[in-house]
Symmetry: C2
């Protein structure tokens, strides 16, 4: 019996299927296929041995505690370690919510703030996975372009003002300032300051999504938006930051955290209570012990070394094989390189040709709201494939793009 | 700086603080306090040793898989084991969604179906934690009374008909048929059949919440609603069942699953993708291996033995100490006994007196929508306190209720 579609809630019915997931499924398990498509960390980056030992130890020694119901806000011991280790400036535990990964924090943030019809500003292109979560809360998205310094804050200002003049409520600006997904771009310090000024002036929040922040291979670390807001304006209200252990320890752990104004964190925790009751107890404590024993820093050093090398291979392969009409970003960290082809290219159509040639990517159009989608761009991932496959995958793609 | 309340979404602003959580907090850590209040499993019920060994093994041997991104629908290997072990009749993997505990499944179920203003029928009293999750999705709740056989289906029918005549959409009936929280009551087989007939006739779904189903200490197992619907009507659409490993292996694991019509499970998975991306990978595989190695059955035998004894202690203590005007349920399983005092009692007010006397409970009023709340009832938990404390706690409470 097939389930009657009309019985589903209106929001559910309007939710599309994830094209990225469909594409990944379509190209999975094909013999010889090199995938530069997903956003998967390298399995070699998982600290399996350390985690295995900690899981055993934590369940044995602290099982009575971690197997029991825990706080919706998250484990206090993990929060203490986040306060100690995170280099984003001191906060109190009341400003931290432990989440089931970064997307989970973004969902609770959106739920806590969005009334149906509210507007959210985002980068175009941006990460589809979180955009659909924000839309599911009833928000309307305005995707605005970036340049080499990141989100065009002049356009952010213009858009907010015109939306406000039309009587709309612009609730927040969603940005991935570091090694953005999909573009690999990083927002400059000047641009960050400008964005905070505009948000403060116009009464709009900023949601700073930072899943890749600690994966910097080169260049100097730039202050996070929420650190700038606090340090330079004494403002602990405008910015909320979401971070994740997914790209550091393994996405299967589903662990991240949000740091923001205590009143908003409390509102997000109310949602957490209803939606997940609390984050997983064992994983939280395992990661707390991992941080406590200072295992994080050497681990990050090891994996950024590995990813730096993979990035080099991808960039040099692009230089060696791509026609001169193709441009790409050279990210200082993260997982992605963004290719821009001449305007005449249709990378949606080329996807199938590339798949036949044994290489998968994500067409750039998948990172825009459909109304403003551009067809001449490509996201390439360099974290997952093995070095030889990175070279070969780029070469296969270059052949397709040369035609 | 305190966060401006008016910036929060309307739904978030309307969410109350959880009185139960506040009460638990207020009585926690007080010297000599015996808590019969929470719904916590006994820490002695956690299979720590087995889990510790499995966590280590799974991360070591399967870390590449379980630490990576997984399916929003849940781990296939865990689904296979659920199909093999669960005694609810065979289903396919497409009818299973792995969730972050039972509440999480209930939330996705409500999101998949509820449009703002839709009506949901529930038992009065019922578990507040899930009611607020359903309300957060915009549903209006009609709480209907139970008798010794469970939910009064005659009133369910009447209410649905009158709601439908008034132009309202009644989306589903939410029931905890086994060892209900808070009443400890179990719905009879005849009543289950009647409920399914009414739901089918009037085009309303049933959400069957079964967190305690496997904690039966005595009496014969009764078929689940979804099994009856399938076996007797060939109906695989009306009922969705949510189960949980919380009361079996430990609530800190945050692991449960829903079984229902494939189309609805797919819609719930769309929400899972946006809200949590996927359930936690390591925990899913650990529980899969626990089931695969047939560790579940002997474990359940052990803990039901332990809880049977605790239930006996509580019931016999009630018999020994309570005044004749007080009645209570004698549940065949689960975690709770439900006391009914004479109408003149106000157990909200008595809570503070009891706390001073060193015993905590949850006033019955907390399990009703405030409009229909009854003040003369009490929920007592027998799973958490040690045997001697169960006796002493009941005795302390009896003294208060005798006055």
């Amino acid at each position: 019996m097939s389930f009657p579609e009309q019985k589903l809630s209106q929001v559910t019915r309007s939710m599309g299927v994830s094209f990225i997931r469909e594409m990944l499924r379509a190209t999975k398990g094909i013999e010889g296929m090199i995938s530069l498509a997903g956003g998967l960390p390298s399995p070699d980056s998982f600290p399996k041995k350390q985690l295995a030992a900690l899981f055993k130890e934590v369940v044995e020694k602290e099982g009575t505690d971690v197997l029991q119901y825990g706080a919706s806000e998250g484990d206090d011991i993990l929060k203490e370690q986040i306060l100690r280790v995170e280099k984003e400036g001191a906060v109190s535990k009341e400003e931290i919510l432990i989440t089931d990964g970064s997307t989970n924090g973004i969902y609770f943030f959106a739920r806590a703030l969005i009334n149906p019809g509210d507007v959210v500003i985002c980068e175009g292109p941006s990460f589809n996975g979180t955009l659909v979560a924000i839309e599911a809360c009833g928000a309307e998205l305005d995707a605005l372009p970036m340049d080499e310094e990141g989100l065009r804050v002049d356009l952010v200002r213009e858009t907010i003002v015109s939306r406000q003049n039309a009587g709309h409520t612009v609730k927040f600006i969603y940005t991935i300032p570091e090694f953005q997904n999909p573009s690999g771009r990083t927002m400059s310090l000047a641009r960050r300051r400008e964005l905070i000024r505009v948000a403060r002036e116009l009464g709009v929040f900023i949601l700073e999504d930072q899943p890749y922040r600690d994966l910097r291979f080169m260049g100097g670390r730039i202050d996070s938006l929420w650190n700038i807001a606090r340090a330079e304006y004494g403002d602990d209200e405008t910015v909320t930051i979401c971070k994740s252990f997914s790209k550091i320890l393994g996405p299967g752990l589903r662990l991240g955290f949000a740091v923001g104004p205590a009143g908003l964190i409390a509102a997000m925790a109310k949602w957490a209570q209803k939606v997940i009751v609390s984050p997983e107890g064992v994983v939280q404590r395992v990661v707390a012990r991992f941080l406590e024993r200072n295992m994080l820093e050497p681990h990050i050093e090891r994996i950024t070394g590995m990813y730096r090398e993979k990035r080099e291979i991808m960039i040099s392969s692009l230089k060696d094989t791509m026609p001169p009409s193709i441009r790409w970003t050279e990210p200082e960290g993260g997982l992605f390189v963004w290719l821009t082809c001449p305007e005449s290219f249709d990378t949606d159509a080329l996807f199938h040709e590339a798949a036949k040639a044994g290489v998968a990517y994500i067409p750039g159009s998948k990172f825009y709201p459909s109304a403003v989608a551009r067809k001449n761009e490509i996201r390439l991932n360099f974290s997952y494939a093995k070095p030889a496959d990175l070279r070969e995958g780029v070469a296969r793609l270059a052949k397709i793009l040369k035609r």
